[in-house]
Symmetry: C2
Subunit: 457 residues, 2 copies
């Protein structure tokens, strides 16, 4: 019965396995030391944030970011750097939004608000109407046209603070932003105010993509800060609110040209097998996109740099990809797949970092057995570097399309506690990134790429 639990063949493999693990552990230590001592991700991120800044798809800054990261990839030691042209939506915010709440017998209260990405504008005249608060779509459905028609709907879906991983709360409450406008419009609303998807209470409105359902009128949608949402909800309970009004002039322009930026180190055994590591280059326009996703972009470039720096000659072709347009279209990720199919490329593995440059805790592995088991065998190699939470999960929006061609995928899971404090808000700036945290993420990503390249999957 012994054999049942421990096949005899393992005995032959065991010494090899141990030697391999100790070699790998030494190489990963080398990678880690190189990143922690000489890592460039943080200084590259400073450049992206401070010299270029916000870089929404279609903006002049997005173009500058394309050029800057192409240069950084060269400096990192890529054999080849090239651009993948790709049409992207071109949304513009327009003039600074304004919004007010009129409370009985008091001066009007100015809201901290911003247009949601992709939203159409009110025009300069704005909208003005009574406000109806809902805390779920079910509540909206129950109120129906009788109550909602002609009104501004206030979608107050707080992120659930009891979820330890904040992405779960974002996923749940996120429907208010993504679908809220069309849902409210289906009952005749003339505008929506969405509570910012934020895990903290402050005055910063958080933008982010919304989408219209073509079956309903396209009404303007803005986000208000969490502090304002709490205040407004209280005033509504007191029946003190007379009217709400807001003006935004955001608009969707014609699609425009942009690029994914790709840097490669060509594999010396299986050059046609491609391993991708990436983040997205575009960012929302309210801040510097430091955590979202300047961090992931710079970590991906650092992966290439450190592999070169420690003298690894990869068997497979390693590509660092700066995807364009993750935030309001996902066109870069789609284009990357399209070209992969068109060029009949073999994509073994794709790793994405788009959850911020915080201290890493794990990887989400989007693959089946036996690949999952293979990666899990490496778990103890990551433990000294703070990564312990390796489990099946979704990878990311930009490498995600590669699933269609059978690519095995993963996503870096950094600590998520602070991400939604700054995500899509004016506070997503370089100063809110820690150098050590960012670099720890990069070195763990490099270690995973090193192992996948060495052993395959």
């Amino acid at each position: 019965m012994f054999k049942k639990f421990f096949p005899a063949s393992c005995f032959y493999l065991l010494p090899f396995f141990c030697v391999a693990q100790s070699e790998d552990s030494a190489m990963i230590k080398k990678i880690a030391d190189e990143v922690l001592i000489n890592g460039k991700a943080y200084e590259n991120l400073r450049f992206l944030c401070k010299k270029i800044g916000p870089r929404l798809s279609g903006s002049p800054q997005a173009q500058k970011a394309v050029e800057a990261t192409a240069r950084m990839l060269m400096e990192a030691g890529a054999d080849t750097v090239y651009l993948q042209p790709c049409m992207v939506p071109h949304w513009v915010r327009g003039i600074k939004e304004k919004g007010f709440i009129q409370v009985a017998g008091k001066p009007v209260y100015p809201l901290h608000l911003c247009s949601l990405g992709n939203s159409l504008g009110t025009g300069k005249k704005g909208v003005r109407a009574g406000v109806i608060e809902v805390r779920s779509f079910k509540e909206l459905d129950q109120l129906g046209t009788a109550v909602i028609k002609g009104k501004i709907v206030f979608l107050n879906f707080p992120m659930n603070p009891t979820y330890i991983k904040t992405f779960r709360a974002y996923g749940e409450s996120g429907i208010s932003r993504w679908q809220g406008a069309s849902k409210a419009a289906s009952y005749g609303a003339i505008g929506t105010m969405v509570r910012s998807l934020a895990s903290n209470e402050d005055d910063n409105p958080h933008t982010g993509a919304m989408a219209y359902n073509d079956s309903f009128p396209k009404i303007p949608a803005v986000a208000i800060s969490t502090n304002d949402a709490e205040w407004l909800s209280k005033q509504l309970k007191l029946k003190m609110v007379v009217k709400a009004s807001f003006t935004n002039t955001s608009a969707m322009l014609a699609d425009t040209i942009s690029y994914n930026v790709v840097g490669e180190i060509r594999g010396n055994e299986f050059p046609k097998e491609i391993i991708t590591v990436g983040g997205h280059l575009d960012s929302w326009d309210l801040a510097e996109g430091a955590q979202d996703d300047g961090a992931g972009v710079m970590q991906s470039i650092e992966v290439l740099r450190v592999l070169k720096a420690v003298g690894i000659h990869p068997k497979r072709t390693i590509r660092a990809v700066m995807f364009m347009n993750e935030e309001n279209g996902g066109r870069g990720g789609e284009k990357y797949l399209e070209l992969a199919e068109q060029n009949k490329e073999t994509h073994l593995f794709g790793l994405e970092s788009d959850d911020g440059g915080f201290t890493p805790r794990g990887f989400r592995l989007e693959m089946n057995e036996p690949q999952l088991s293979k990666v899990m065998q490496w778990k103890n190699l990551f433990y000294p570097y703070g990564v312990y939470d390796m489990a099946a999960g979704e990878s990311g929006a930009d490498v995600g399309p590669l699933k269609k061609i059978g690519t095995l995928l993963a996503g870096l899971s950094p600590d998520s506690q602070r991400y939604f404090d700054v995500h899509h808000a004016a506070t997503d700036v370089f100063e809110n990134v820690s150098k050590r945290e960012l670099h720890l993420g990069a070195l763990n990503m490099a270690a995973l790429i090193y192992l996948v390249d060495k052993y395959g999957l």
Copy 2:
């Protein structure tokens, strides 16, 4: 042979163990939800930081902090709140320090510097001399009196960036601050400039305790910022530095009275068995002591609050203790032990939080088998709340003295990447604490206290 690995008696215990774990898991979820929804640690910390601020032992603010935390303990639901009087050192910084480097043919360079805690002053005339850089005590020994006599020694001991847990680097480089002045004085130096013990590069000098060895002259000691240390080292290599000078008027005054603040929930089965949870109330004078250790203090009060709030009636007496004078004397911790011995108290367990209010990753357990194994059995209960790294290790400076009377000890291990960016510097302010991170620490501490109280050790 089966029995060897799995004693038959375990079979009887197994169902009980499973039921117990699921009960415990439900209770810990209740604790977690309560802290994450209604936790008071963050707002209490805001008060401590913004309404009181720096609170070095012997300062009027330290006294205010004693009064404020006594009130907070009452509000948290402690049965009894009392003070433990304790004499503390009373060190004062004096006027704002000044320091300059004179470089050949250039204007003098003003340093970003501060006196080290406990250092004596130069007097208003200051010191002025040539500078000798050393990067280790060995190097200092080799240079000896011939080179060092009459000079200012620049102790440039960078924190090793390759250590993943930053406390290890702090421990190693820390000798430059703790022992550097007397070591340099033993070779005739007239002053020391210490590179700040910081994991980042910026202009903020980091203070912290130093100690004199009575066998040598007591020379003044200051810390300079990491940016200045890098710059100075470069200038010295270029042989461009003519002289360094600095002035500080810090002084050690007579000991003065202060207090530990204690809040208790009396146990209802074994009231004489005491479980302590604490942090230290004093802080350095350059900032608000938000991470060090306002965080630990507020987490400890929160432990008491949440146990009450979720309706736990502890078997043993739970004490939240705000220790005084950890930073430059450790007198509060010593006094706590002294009174425990004097009152013949039984101290079962002591838990300290003094590594910042960052996302928790683990507990360091200062205990022998079989207690260690017992705690390790609870590991899976903490995993959903981000705590996975439970291992033998040193607890903390304030509960540490209790080891003498056989108390089992533990320390909270939060993520350490950002701690030494702000530690003892002007940047250790409330704004650099995350509410969710702080509260996650508190809820894990409360869970551990709950388990120790319920099962004993």
